[in-house]
């Protein structure tokens, strides 16, 4: 259990009043999660880092508009989602956002050096995620990797819970089929 002397709910009002130290502390708690969320939906480290910086800058500028501090996480991810989609639109404005696919990296998303999972499984997962549609992948990332509730995902993605569930469950079925051969080999 991680003991936190100061909760996010205490830091947010201070940061909203212009306390930079409080905001820096808040950023340090969330930057890795936001970066990884953006990394998985953009599949590009540089883009993910740039977007993360933009997200926290925008969040700082708009923090006073956040009425309910308990909604900070979905509010922050909503900004991140908007920033990512804004970037997609700028890069290919003539293309419908629904048709956009992220740039694929050479080896997919790599694993940290201390991973307990075999590299083959990691690469298979990265590859399977890349084959999902953008919406399906984002639903998986928000649920599996970020642990949001359906209601929060609905808020972040600005769509009904039923749509969120549909995207996630379709993606899960596809992933199950994609990863079954790997799992069957006992990796």
């Amino acid at each position: 259990m991680i003991f936190r002397a100061v909760e996010d709910a205490d830091l947010i009002p201070q940061a909203a009043r212009g306390n930079v130290e409080a905001y820096n502390l808040l950023v340090s708690r969330w930057e890795k999660r936001v970066y990884n969320y953006l990394l998985r939906i953009t599949a590009n480290r540089e883009d993910a880092l740039d977007l993360t910086q933009d997200v926290f800058l925008k969040a700082y500028q708009n923090l006073r508009k956040l009425d309910d501090t308990s909604r900070f996480a979905p509010w922050l991810y909503r900004i991140a989602h908007n920033e990512a989609y804004s970037m997609f639109r700028k890069r290919r404005p003539e293309t419908d956002v629904d048709e956009l696919e992220p740039e694929s990296t050479e080896t997919g998303i790599t694993v940290g050096g201390s991973s307990v999972f075999p590299m083959e499984l990691t690469l298979a997962v990265a590859s399977a995620l890349e084959r999902l549609s953008k919406e399906q992948r984002e639903a998986v990332v928000l649920k599996i990797y970020q642990g949001f509730k359906f209601e929060e995902m609905s808020e972040i993605l600005e769509c009904p819970v039923s749509t969120v569930k549909s995207r996630l469950y379709t993606a899960l079925e596809l992933l199950k089929k994609e990863l079954a051969p790997i799992q069957a080999r006992g990796v």
Binding site: R45, L49, V111, F117, T122, V125, F150, L172, A180
Partner: protein, 199 residues
């Protein structure tokens, strides 16, 4: 297709209330296909979690440490001078302030003289032009007359000076001749006196 009373995926993701969770657990315990389905979902979830989070390559914010950080004043000073954009912003702000000050303190413009001409008719404008032309012609004529008079006066003055000079020279010459004549007479007189004495 699962025969569970509630969605197994909702159960997997802990989106069911406690009573529904218990019902699913009871059902799965008795239903082999649903048990296998749930096991497959769990395996997929575990496989997906093989993909671990990466460390962010560059920190977004800085959480200062009171032990190592400079004093608040020095930190603010360093932050100000160490930031190009902030300096640029400060310069732009000063320039803006100067522009605002200059705009606010600029003297009110004088009433436009041409505002009256806008209401004049073409005939009035022609009359004014004619008047100006006549006045200019008179001024030029007066100026030329004055110059001519000055020239005549100058010539007269110069001639008078020359005349005076000639009179003065003539007087001097006359005086010289008279003097010569007197000397000559004196000499003639002296020679006559000498001749008479000799005789």
């Amino acid at each position: 297709m699962s025969c569970s009373p509630f969605d197994l995926k909702d159960y997997l993701f802990q989106e069911l209330p406690a009573n529904q969770r218990r019902e699913v657990e009871k059902h799965v315990a008795a239903c082999e296909p649903c048990r296998e389905e749930l096991a497959g979902l769990r395996l997929t979830q575990t496989a997906l979690l093989a993909l671990q989070d990466e460390e962010i390559p560059q920190r977004i914010g800085f959480v200062s440490d009171p032990i190592f950080e400079p004093s608040p004043w020095r930190r603010a000073w360093a932050a100000f001078w160490g930031s190009g954009p902030r300096l640029g912003f400060a310069a732009a702000a000063m320039l803006s302030a100067a522009l605002v000050f200059a705009t606010v303190n600029r003297p009110a413009p004088a009433p436009a003289p041409h505002s009256q001409t806008a209401t004049l008719t073409a005939a009035e404008i022609d009359a004014r032009i004619d008047a100006r032309v006549r006045q200019a012609a008179l001024e030029i004529e007066a100026s030329q007359t004055k110059k001519a008079e000055q020239l005549v006066a100058s010539v007269k003055q110069r001639d008078a000076a020359k005349l005076n000079e000639l009179v003065r020279m003539a007087s001097a010459q006359t005086e010289y001749f008279l003097q010569q004549n007197a000397e000559l007479r004196s000499q003639v007189h002296s020679s006559n006196v000498l001749g008479e004495a000799t005789r």
